[in-house]
């Protein structure tokens, strides 16, 4: 065997050895990387499985509270404005006999007729009409104009802003058509409609 051939064989032996050694080290690097990576992933997984439910609870609690507090704040603001509208209405009702006497008188006549009709239907013929001092005179005249002569009336002064309260002699049945009584009775009935007048633009935006 020539010395060139021997050298060539030696080189081939070393080429193969280096190739093999490099592969062994490359594989080891990859394996080492994988082992460390898996450990990190395991830690992350365990962390996530413990944290996720707590995150959900925390999120629900904090956002839920913000929404609840916010809604309550808007509701209180709305109530305040609605109350303002009702108070303003009460002031207008107090002034009505002066600002629109004819309309007020029509109202008195209407509620008086209604009260008389209802009491007559129950067979009551002796009625007491409660009203403020200002309205008693008007009411006495209105009573005279009622065609139902079978009913007798007596009048009592009451601390009302307007309208009438009618009762039978014993005070067992009461027909409350005072302005403040009607306003209070209608408060809950009108609330939604009043709100829709007040907040139509807020709701639209």
């Amino acid at each position: 065997m020539s010395s060139d051939a021997v050298e060539a064989l030696k080189e081939e032996i070393w080429r193969r050895a280096r190739e093999k050694a490099d592969k062994i080290l490359r594989d080891a690097d990859e394996e080492a990387k994988r082992i460390v990576e898996e450990a990190r992933e395991k830690v992350e997984r365990e962390l996530k499985s413990r944290i996720e439910p707590e995150r959900i609870i925390l999120r629900r609690r904090l956002l839920g509270k913000a929404m609840m507090d916010g809604r309550r704040m808007v509701l209180l603001a709305k109530n305040e404005v609605i109350e303002k509208a009702f108070n303003k209405a009460l002031e207008k009702l107090k002034q009505l006999p002066q600002t629109n006497p004819s309309e007020y008188e029509k109202f008195l006549e209407k509620v008086l007729r209604k009260a008389v009709e209802e009491f007559s239907a129950m067979g009551e013929s002796n009625l007491i009409i409660y009203a403020n001092e200002r309205d008693l005179g008007v009411l006495k005249k209105l009573v005279d104009s009622l065609s139902n002569s079978s009913v007798s009336f007596s009048f009592e002064k009451a601390d009302l802003i307007g309208g009438i309260i009618v009762s039978d002699r014993d005070g067992r049945v009461i027909f409350n058509s005072s302005l403040e009584g009607r306003l209070n009775s209608l408060r809950s009935i009108l609330r939604d409609q009043v709100a829709s007048i007040l907040f139509k633009e807020v709701e639209a935006s």
């Binding site: 050694a21 450990a39 603001a77 509208a85 302005l179 007040l198």
Partner: protein
Amino acid sequence: MSLTALLLEEKKAMLYVEEARKKAQEKVQKARKEAEQIIARFDEDEKIKEILREYEEEVRAEAEKIFSQYRKRAEKVKSIPESVIEEASEFIVREVLTYEL
């Protein structure tokens, strides 16, 4: 003579590969230790508290945004013009006078 030299070279090469194998085992061994340390170092409770603290700050900021939207809405409600309140009060007066109770 040349054959002996070749056999010797072959043996050296095998030792070389063997050396690489040892190094490889050491690397894997080192990685295993590192992995064990990663798992052992991981103080679960403390880490969870820390992550939740960070998350809470994030959610609080989100909650504040939501609340401030409601605040704006409430301010808008409170600043409803007098003319609209007037309109509503007129409606109430009309109903008080005409509603069939």
